[in-house]
């Protein structure tokens, strides 16, 4: 994984307009083998449009996309042979069984019988789906449908895997199975691009692009992005979280105070300096405080502080 290879995906100045409005504007991105690149952003920021452009199911107005050396705009058919795309709603045949759905997609991609059986067995095993091979897709739970969609998308060996909100409505166990499969693909050198609104999922990506109104506002590893977080966070655990938040929010040096179940997260300018002040103010008000510690910001903390602008829904 160490030698800097040529990127699998090269995107230059990509722009797509609908009517007068630009859904994607001047997007530039390189993605290497084995990377998991995550797009995060508010509704309507352009995530799904980018996925469709990369998948060669939509043509850009400007810019270029090259995947495995193939010009996606000029030769979409050829490009698609390197790509597997799983849209938000994957088109499973609800009246066919799990096995029959896999067969169908394997035929579609022209996969040899020997290879498809082995691959299907491995993917179904990794996702805990083996006992359900004879069940109709329509009778699977939401999580199992998503896993079957992924299995069908991966029945051929793509160089690039595009996943649009793959785990919406999927429980954490199934989500782990899902990521286990993705990590296996990473190790095989597949480049993965994923759009998600869930930030615990974003934490699992190797790099993230934060989109705002069709533009990439920030792009870096999750760790580097977290260092952009303005201020520091102190977690204060207390049974009187609501009172504590009121008090903390009014103090000097506090930029924000967020209720988190049985604790309050205070965003402050300087944790070292403000911790004692917070504790003293809470003591004065008679609020009992348990643990107090400085914590690393989550991607969600960062997202909210970087991408929220005044009055925006």
């Amino acid at each position: 994984m160490s030698e800097p290879a040529k990127p699998v995906i090269e995107v230059r100045n990509l722009t797509k307009r609908f009517g007068g409005a630009a859904a994607v504007q001047g997007l530039t991105l390189d993605c290497a083998k084995g990377e998991v690149f995550g797009f995060v952003g508010p509704d309507g920021a352009g995530k799904t449009t980018i996925m469709r452009l990369l998948a060669a199911v939509m043509t850009p107005d400007e810019g270029s996309i090259v995947i495995e050396g193939v010009d996606v705009v000029g030769a979409p058919e050829l490009a698609r042979s390197h790509i597997s795309y799983m849209p938000q709603r994957f088109g499973l045949y609800e009246d066919l069984t799990v096995d029959e759905n896999i067969e169908f997609f394997a035929d579609l991609f022209g996969i040899e019988r020997g290879m498809r059986d082995e691959r299907a067995a491995r993917l179904l095993g990794a996702s805990g789906m083996t006992p359900f091979r004879k069940r109709r897709a329509g009778q699977l739970s939401g999580g199992m449908k998503q896993k079957l969609g992924l299995t069908c998308s991966l029945i051929h060996t793509p160089k690039v895997l595009l996943l649009d909100e793959p785990t919406a409505g999927v429980d954490p166990l199934s989500r782990r199975d899902f990521w286990r499969i993705l990590y296996g693909l990473r190790a095989e050198g597949v480049a993965i691009v994923i759009a998600t609104s869930y930030l615990d999922e974003a934490e699992r990506c190797t790099r993230l692009g934060l989109l705002r109104q069709g533009r990439m506002a920030y792009c870096d590893t999750p760790e580097a992005l977290k260092r952009l977080m303005p201020g520091e966070i102190i977690a204060i655990s207390t049974q009187q979280a609501r009172e504590a938040r009121e008090i903390i929010a009014s103090l000097e040096g506090v930029k924000g105070a967020i209720l988190m179940g049985d604790s309050v997260h205070a965003v402050v300018d300087d944790a070292g300096r403000r911790s004692a002040e917070l504790k003293a103010a809470l003591d004065r008000a008679g609020v009992l405080v348990g643990d107090m510690e400085r914590i690393a910001p989550s991607i969600e903390d960062l997202f909210v502080s970087l991408l929220t602008t005044e009055g925006k829904g």
Binding site: D171, R204, D262, E300, V304, T308
Partner: protein, 322 residues
């Protein structure tokens, strides 16, 4: 909202609540209490019985056994009275797309029998809460996910319910809107409303006062997020970070000291019995495979670690097998 109730008032009392469908036990002797102003999160895999439990508590489904008192009424005997005191919001939002914001609120107000001066007062409250004061004539179809979500919440509280049931209310809503939604939930809870919410997302579960973890119809853990992280898990978590987590995962799965292992970004979470004792064995295993790591250290379990261990014990072992 509901007049501030004493913090001790019990709004939901479920005692060995059970629901059978034929031979299948969907809800198995679930007992818990929820107090005024408390936010309880129901967590569990798809099909664990969360929605069935909520349907019993909202009086939509009769329990096969056990008892539940909701807002002072027995759900089996007086489901209509229960429904007068609860609000319900599903993941589908159930709004009328071709009606305006105000028309939707009036409709739901009417369904709940809110009339006259009280209706006008509640309309004003709901519109203000949703932040839709300037857009009361907008069609719901034209609203983004975040606005729709806040409007759906407004519709669910038109009749000032004492208890609010929210079934995956934030599916497909972006993080900034989600946080704003939680501000609303907290302000309702602050006025004494009890909230029961289901979610699949751990970052959201962290917002709840207490979490009820449900698996195969049973309540397997009940406590605050920090209590669960502190004491619900067996063993300890070692975090390993390196360039090739995929290969590390493969090397560690099924290894003797490793109870479970899962990827987290560029790192892995390894469940072991004793982090200090088992760490050398894990390092040796990685060295043997010539896998480099930049960091290896014990960490506090995350809520997801707790969830996966309590709910997925058997599954985790199954997935580790070849």
């Amino acid at each position: 909202m509901t007049s501030p109730a004493p913090a001790s008032e019990i709004r939901i009392a479920a005692d060995k609540l059970t629901k059978r469908f034929g031979d299948f036990i969907a809800v198995n002797a679930v007992s818990f209490e929820a107090r005024a102003g408390e936010i309880i999160g129901f967590l569990g895999p798809n099909g664990a019985g969360k929605s069935t439990t909520i349907r019993i508590l909202t009086g939509l489904l009769r329990p096969s056994g056990g008892k539940a008192i909701v807002a002072g009424f027995d759900v089996a005997r007086s489901p209509e009275r229960v429904r007068e005191h609860i609000g319900y919001m599903s993941q589908k939002f159930s709004l009328y797309s071709d009606l305006s914001v105000m028309e939707n609120l009036r409709f739901f107000g009417g369904v709940y029998g809110v009339k006259g001066a009280r209706l006008e007062k509640r309309l004003k409250f709901a519109v203000g809460m949703a932040g839709l004061t300037d857009r009361t004539d907008a069609l719901v179809a034209d609203l983004s996910g975040g606005w729709k979500q806040r409007l759906a919440l407004g519709c669910a509280v038109m009749h000032e319910p004492a208890i609010l049931f929210l079934d995956e209310p934030t599916s497909g809503v972006d993080p900034a809107s989600r946080r704003r939604f939680w501000d609303l939930i907290y302000s309702l809870a602050g006025e004494g409303v009890s909230v029961v919410i289901t979610t699949h997302y751990m970052d959201e579960a962290e917002y709840c006062n207490r979490i009820a973890l449900i698996n195969a119809g049973k309540l397997v853990a009940l406590g605050s997020p920090s209590e669960l992280k502190r004491s619900a898990i067996h063993g300890e978590i070692l975090l390993v970070e390196g360039d090739n987590p995929g290969a590390m995962l493969e090397a560690l799965e099924g290894a003797p000291a490793v109870r479970d292992v899962a990827p987290f970004g560029s790192s892995l979470h390894i469940v072991v019995d004793d982090a200090a004792r088992d760490r050398p064995a894990i390092e040796a295993l990685l060295k043997q495979r010539e896998l480099q790591w930049s960091r290896i250290e014990p960490i506090k379990p995350t809520l997801e670690d707790v969830f996966v261990q309590l709910v997925g014990g058997d599954r985790a072992k199954g997935a580790a097998a070849p």
